[in-house]
Symmetry: C2
Subunit: 240 residues, 2 copies
DNA sequence: CGTTAACTTGAATTAAGTCAACTGTCGTGG
DNA sequence: CCACGACAGTTGACTTAATTCAAGTTAACG
């Protein structure tokens, strides 16, 4: 069982802007050189209000760095059905394809600061910089593995296992670290959770109630969740 | 809508071995230099019989190059439930994580030749070679995007849409290219298709029958499928 | 040609969806 | 500070798509 997906906290950056935090994470050696400067020219900083979509060129793949806040990556199929493919938190870099079988959009769950890069130009600039490519590759593998785990849940798990899995996963990314329990402040609504787990909002609600009755979680308000026994929850999640 | 996921055909290699074909694809500039040699030392060539699992060190992440044949990447959750996370064809490079929430194994659908690399050593050797990292990154993004599209299907599509989506996707990867129709020789069983789409073998069979009755496909034997009208099939797949 | 496993089809069951009514939370303005 | 409104979440009753169980068919291989 993996211990944690948590990234190192984004360094507090008084006097530094989003871009410096980004460089520090993805290209520490390039902070001052020409590659750093070229990337700075490419980066489009944006503030996205809660519920708004990051405006992206529909013709070009994009790489989006999340500076603060939280986002959901939504895929639209026909008939307006939406599937949330991933959630993202500060310090992460998201690859958003322009044209695929489904259309993707990146939407803020809370007030969010991002840097938007055109993927092609980004890769051109960093083509000669192995350190950046390596960092990108590592993140890309991590995203792929997370997406695969998600696929397992969507394909082969029942509602309770999916929710348990979701909570355990979120705990690993944004939960407070405590010995035998864990506190979560979920930035997403029940609808978002449903859209992420391939379930309806009513089913999510029922499963929250069941986990509550089993004594595995406690909830306060709409967003606060206490995982009383993370190990037991992981077991319910159907992890091996 | 994407035109094709097809890779350029693996060059016929009389007198060349699997490894040369691999290098040609992922590190054309390194064929003779020390990086090429280092990679050659890392590569473990193996022949895997149909139905057998590629033997991988359970403690280390692996990168597996598919030289010939076809494979499925299986995730095992608790209670023996299996979800096929991806299929792979010659020329592709698969990242198999050692430890995650689910346990992964790579299994041959037919007689298959592979090269197995330890992921850490591979990345160490190529850390200074941007061309290789770039190729890897490109493939990794492609796999991620395919996995996301799969997640949309598993989360939000009914049985018929999933099968239609599967057939269109396979057509793009291994189908014969013809103007208004397309012939497929599926190397996987109905059970594999079910395990990939999160459905049972019976449901797969029923949906094949329905697509047949709708005149969208014809089947001969167990593996041959003719897509009579790929565009109409893509529409049924719920692609936008 | 016969055996076996893969596939197909039908009938009964079930987990999750849908529809509808109700309750709690949170922000706003009196 | 409290009352109110609006929306997010909860719960119940009924429906449905897919699973499960069971009984045939068909294709592939020796």
């Amino acid at each position: 069982m993996r211990v944690s997906n948590r990234l190192h906290p984004v360094p507090a950056a008084p006097g530094r802007n989003q871009f410096d935090a980004f460089l520090l994470r993805f290209a520490p050696a390039c902070a001052t050189d020409e590659i750093g400067c070229a990337l700075r020219k490419l980066a489009q900083p944006m503030g996205i209000a809660k519920g708004r979509t990051v405006p992206l060129d529909p013709a070009k793949d994009a790489l989006v760095y999340i500076g603060s806040g939280a986002t959901k990556l939504i895929a639209c199929a026909s008939s307006g059905r939406e599937q949330i493919v991933a959630f993202h938190f500060p310090g992460e870099l998201v690859s958003v394809p322009a044209r695929a079988w489904h259309s993707y959009s990146l939407c803020a769950l809370a007030g969010t600061d991002v840097l938007v890069f055109p993927a092609d130009a980004f890769l051109e600039v960093t083509a000669a910089e192995p350190a950046v490519l390596g960092a990108l590759l590592e993140r890309s593998f991590a995203a792929l593995h997370r997406c695969r785990d998600k696929a397992v849940g969507l394909g082969r798990k029942n509602a309770q296992e999916r929710l348990a899995s979701f909570l355990v996963g979120m705990a690993g990314r944004i939960g407070s670290i405590e010995p035998d329990q864990c506190v979560l402040d979920l930035p997403m609504s029940r609808r978002d959770i449903g859209d992420s787990l391939g379930l309806t909002i009513e089913t999510i609600s029922r499963q929250f109630s069941e986990l509550r009755q089993s004594g595995l979680i406690e909830t306060t308000g709409r967003s606060r969740v206490l995982l009383c026994d993370p190990a037991a929850l992981a077991k319910r999640a159907g992890h091996i």
